[in-house]
Symmetry: C2
């Protein structure tokens, strides 16, 4: 769906239905905002009582307008929703913005009213923003249709929260930024975030796309739109609301959102290259960095300050953000020593030790050396710089000179140069900003933003996969069905035989060869009730186990070849379906303890073998697979092949809610599924 959104962002005429002469009312703010661009477009104020509003005569209805209003903003009570929509369409509107609340967010009845209205709107070749939204803004076309004024700048904001937009606007304004466009999504009855992301990608004044979303609708389409924007060079920053129990309660009540698991959102962000942020401040902090610095090619940062404490605190916080502070080469260190006093620290972090106070231009010399060092991917200046302007006018001038030089060196080096200064409003700080550099007041904002530049530079988003076309549906759940599905997909399992009773089990064991594994199948809870026995060395042991399992009332048994568990490490591979993002594959370190710790990594299914390997290697416990502590390296590529095959099978079966291999035993050569499970259509039918 690629519709022309010009009637929304640059309408030839605007009508405000529900315009009001009373300050503090929505109909007043909207009228006031619309009138700011009266020279650019006709503005019609509509109020059923007529009268005068902000010096203009109000029309009593849309039918009275002298010309067709291209955009109609509706701010009447929900009761009048249908009438207002009909009136707008009859008047020839091509875009409707509905502020009115009390529709789809309230429940099914409201959603049905929205659906019917949207059908009429689309039939008329028009589009709808809202309902339950807070309007929109376009800086270039001077379109102000929201309650509060917002600053102009390079950020395109798509938001399911109006307050968030205001807060982001204030913080952005403080940082010298603002909005190119802002759209309040509301209930997304017609226009959804995905269509706006596509539109913002093509919108020249928009250089960063920021999204606050509670309901992702078609999550894959959303992620794909974001991926295309990222590929087109426009970073996408996302606040995803509703991932914890409390916020999910709030989101459902706020926009009737069908909330997604945080795990699915994380998988979508990784696939698309979306940078997830948690708060308005983080959003603006990261936007400042992405607008002012290139992505970093690696994690190695050089830190400089005139003052040991500043370097110490910054170094600790940088490490907490996963950045690396390698000592610089002897060459760079010698260069620094040649500039700085003998007490200076010249390895990294660099403490100018008064060298900046002695000559403030030494900051520029130090930063230049660090930017030129092959040992560093980015440079961070922190602390007092900017404060020398309080000494004298000469100091101030020299400090600005240093700032201008540093901005130039950074641009030449093509590396991120990020600055935190307690004198963030000084002339030197402004000179850095004018030179395009990201400048921060607080350390946490600066280092969070620098770590985002690193993520942008080193992450390898694998792209949003299509959900494969459905295969022949699986009809039964249970162990054998799961094994059959996964074996066909290419996952290896130990040899196994079905046995209905003890006699058959003993015969099966003879064919397979001792020691064997015995599993009781059916409605049994395996780990709790002892439904799995391993290492049964001979027929006596097997018989004893069979009689012990008799109490489980198993419907049948599986007798299996013993796998060399002690030679390998166990993974868990699972998949579940998110209501918005579809099948999500999860890989984790196996075992009881690790289930408790939740060492898992996730991806939108299906994934290829390379991506599966990256996923496995991203686990905190991955060093054990790769040969930590004197252990042999295991066959991670085989585990990745199994995981990729698993994820494809999960993707091809929409009738499966959950699919799991637990454990997947990774061996020095190969990988073996030791157990498998299917949950069909929301019910766990574990019976074979």
């Amino acid at each position: 769906m690629t519709r022309d959104l010009r009637p929304l962002f640059d309408p030839r005429s605007v009508a405000i239905v529900g315009a009001s002469a009373t300050p503090g009312k929505w109909g007043y703010w909207l009228a006031q905002g619309a009138l700011q661009a009266e020279e650019r477009r006709a503005v019609f104020l509509v109020n059923r009582n007529g009268g005068e509003i902000l010096g203009r005569t109000a029309y009593r209805s849309l039918a009275e307008l002298p010309e067709s209003p291209e955009l109609v903003v509706i701010t009447v009570p929900a009761d009048g929703f249908e009438e207002a929509v009909d009136g707008a369409l009859d008047a020839g509107a091509k875009a409707l913005v509905v502020i009115s609340a009390g529709l789809g967010e309230g429940g099914p009845e409201g959603r049905e009213r929205e659906r019917v209205a949207v059908e009429r709107i689309r039939d008329a070749g028009a589009l709808l923003v809202g309902p339950n939204c807070l309007g929109l803004f376009d800086a270039e076309t001077n379109l102000h249709l929201s309650s509060n004024s917002v600053p102009s700048g390079p950020i395109g904001l798509i938001s399911q929260s109006g307050n968030l937009a205001l807060e982001v606007g204030m913080l952005a304004g403080d940082a010298g930024l603002g909005f190119s466009r802002f759209v309040s999504l509301g209930n997304q009855a017609d226009l959804e975030a995905v269509e706006l992301i596509h539109d913002f990608r093509e919108h020249e004044p928009t250089r960063v796309i920021a999204v606050y979303c509670e309901d992702f609708r078609d999550g894959r389409a959303f992620a794909r739109a974001a991926q295309q924007a990222v590929e087109a060079g426009k970073p996408v920053l996302l606040i995803a609301g509703g991932g914890t129990p409390g916020s999910a309660r709030a989101a459902r009540s706020h926009t009737g959102a069908l909330v997604s698991d945080l795990v699915a959102v994380e998988a979508a962000c990784a696939a698309a290259g979306i940078e997830r942020v948690a708060t308005p401040k983080e959003l603006v902090d990261v936007a400042v960095a992405r607008l002012g610095a290139p992505p970093a090619r690696g994690r190695r940062v050089g830190i400089a300050a005139d003052g040991g404490g500043s370097t110490v605190i910054a170094a600790d916080l940088a490490a907490a953000h996963g950045l690396e502070l390698p000592p610089v080469s002897r060459k760079t260190s010698s260069g620094l020593q040649a500039i700085l006093p003998p007490t200076a620290a010249t390895e990294n972090p660099v403490d100018l030790a008064g060298g900046g106070e002695y000559d403030v231009f030494n900051f520029a010399r130090v930063v230049e050396l660090l930017l030129r060092s092959d040992d560093l991917d980015s440079v961070f200046l922190t602390g007092y710089f900017g404060g020398y302007s309080t000494y004298s006018e000469e100091h101030a001038a020299r400090e600005v000179e240093a700032a201008v030089a540093m901005a130039k060196y950074a641009a030449d080096a093509g590396k991120p140069f990020v600055v935190q200064t307690m004198y963030w409003r000084s002339a030197a700080a402004e000179a850095l900003r004018d030179g395009g550099m990201p400048v921060y007041r607080d350390l946490e904002g600066a280092l969070h933003a620098l770590s985002a530049l690193v993520r942008a530079g080193v992450a390898q988003p694998h792209g949003v996969p299509d959900v494969p076309p459905p295969a022949q549906p699986v009809e039964a759940a249970g162990y054998w069905a799961a094994r059959a599905l996964l074996e066909e997909a290419g996952v290896l399992f130990p040899e196994a035989r079905r046995a209905q009773d003890s006699e058959a089990a003993l015969a099966a064991a003879n064919e397979i060869g001792y020691p064997v594994v015995l599993k009781a199948l059916g409605d049994v809870h395996k780990s709790d009730a002892g439904g799995v026995a391993v290492g049964l060395a001979d027929a006596t042991a097997l018989e004893r186990q069979l009689s012990e399992m008799a109490t489980l009332e198993a419907s049948e048994y599986s007798v299996e070849r013993t796998a060399p568990v002690e030679e390998g490490i166990e993974l868990i591979v699972g998949s579940r379906r998110d209501p918005r993002f579809g099948p999500v594959t999860l890989v984790g370190m196996g075992g009881l303890y690790t289930e408790v710790l939740g060492d898992v990594a996730v991806a939108l299914a299906p994934i290829g073998e390379d991506e599966a390997e990256r996923l496995i290697c991203s686990l905190r416990g991955a060093p054990l697979l790769l040969g930590a502590r004197g252990r042999p390296a295991l066959d991670v590529p085989a585990a990745a092949r199994a995981t990729a095959a698993f994820s494809r099978a999960a993707g091809e079966h929409p009738e499966i809610d959950e699919l799991e291999i637990n454990p997947l035993l990774v061996l020095p050569e190969g990988a073996l599924g030791l157990d498998a499970r299917i949950v069909l259509g929301g019910v766990d039918r574990d019976a074979a």
Copy 2:
């Protein structure tokens, strides 16, 4: 050591040695600062060239002064350090503040010069701050002896960084706070942080003690001083610098600091009830909260905002901070429904859904209900509140009225009430501040501070233990020595026999009873080289194992009774000595995987059984010990007894650098050490 610091903070007279008439020089700033209190105390400016400085005639030396200067500030080059100290003492000074750098931080020679000078200073009954410091400040006595001016307020700051003090001062000023006192520690040649903490505890205008430290000197004394301050009702907030490789490099070069492991600092903070913060902003954010709200009695927070997005984002961030958002009781929810529009969310978080816009006093009604709810330990208001003042003067007045009411309700309830508002400078925000409430601009600061209030309320600092008097030193390292030491302390191990050869091993096994465990001792690396064999079922198996181990060239063997490993969970218990904080005990979940993940908890040794149990239960993997996933609960008290006994043994043996039980097997009844290790005096003498 409890010295009278009055000559430092409230001297009857001050002399500035190195005073200068040149703006931008230290000698100028110090003179300018000192002269601010000329009515309170005599100020003498000393410059070897004499002349006029800031309108006063400078003395050529301290010997020329008309009276004895009680406090002398020295800002001459390091070369003149001894001469200036002698001059000050000869003139009768009781306190010296030495700004001069280039002494102890540069290496042993400088430290020796400091030592000699301090000896003379102490002999004269005087004291020294610095060298390499940035001066000091006392608001009450109007003592300004630093480069920049700082705001006055309730925070007492002790800092090894001058820039940090400036930055904290600026941020505190924005929050309406400032310093009661500030002391720049420098190299701590004489006066150390610990003495200042004791002094600040008694200093009435100081209500929060903030410390930035790179070198803790006597770490136990430091922690004990902090503990006493906390017990006296003065929160201690600490930025500890130097815990990561990069920052340790910087700290060593900055003040010649002997840096402590982060683990030791963490243990000290837990013992003393110190709140650790990472940055100046965190420090001020937490100070605002501790000054404006009582500690929270639990983790349950109620969140309110007029706007769904605000509640959603805050709820997610609160969860990330470990706070809980329980749905409120039906009674509270009904109360909220009675106030708010039908679309409001009234469970928790509470979205006023326009109810605040309709009547801004509804914020106060909502907050009152939440503060009164027994389901909540604290209340957090976030988002737009404060912005209604932009509507009209009536709105503004009503909003302030609501703010005043909320502050009163919070004071009555005795619960934390924390506010974040994008209109943080509004009249309503100021009214909240005037009412003593913590108000923040950014969500992260507000929720970090709220989580600090929770820590202050729920943490149970166990107190800083004394290192016990040394016991008879252990002379040998190795397995048997470790076992003997720990068994004597009360740790249980499986029965074991020493065996010099195969014959002795077989005999030992017969006495113990099969299956046995065989360990090869001596210079062997056990896990890598197969020096431990378990489950040896009979003499044949033992003989085979002995011949396999022959290649290890073990000096002897241990033959041991088999422990029921499959019935328990393994812990690691270890101890190491920090150069500043002494012996630190560490408990972690055992096993290869968990060593990789580092699931550990630490405490200053020795610890009692209660503390050991809390420590074990704080592990992320603790649910497994307590009976997660259908497993039986294990004997955690027995594990705690073993850990407490271990920590006492570690504490009593300063000659031991490292002591370890790995693993400690926690069983349904009891806990058994399965292996033990001693490292003496820095060398691993694992040979038996």
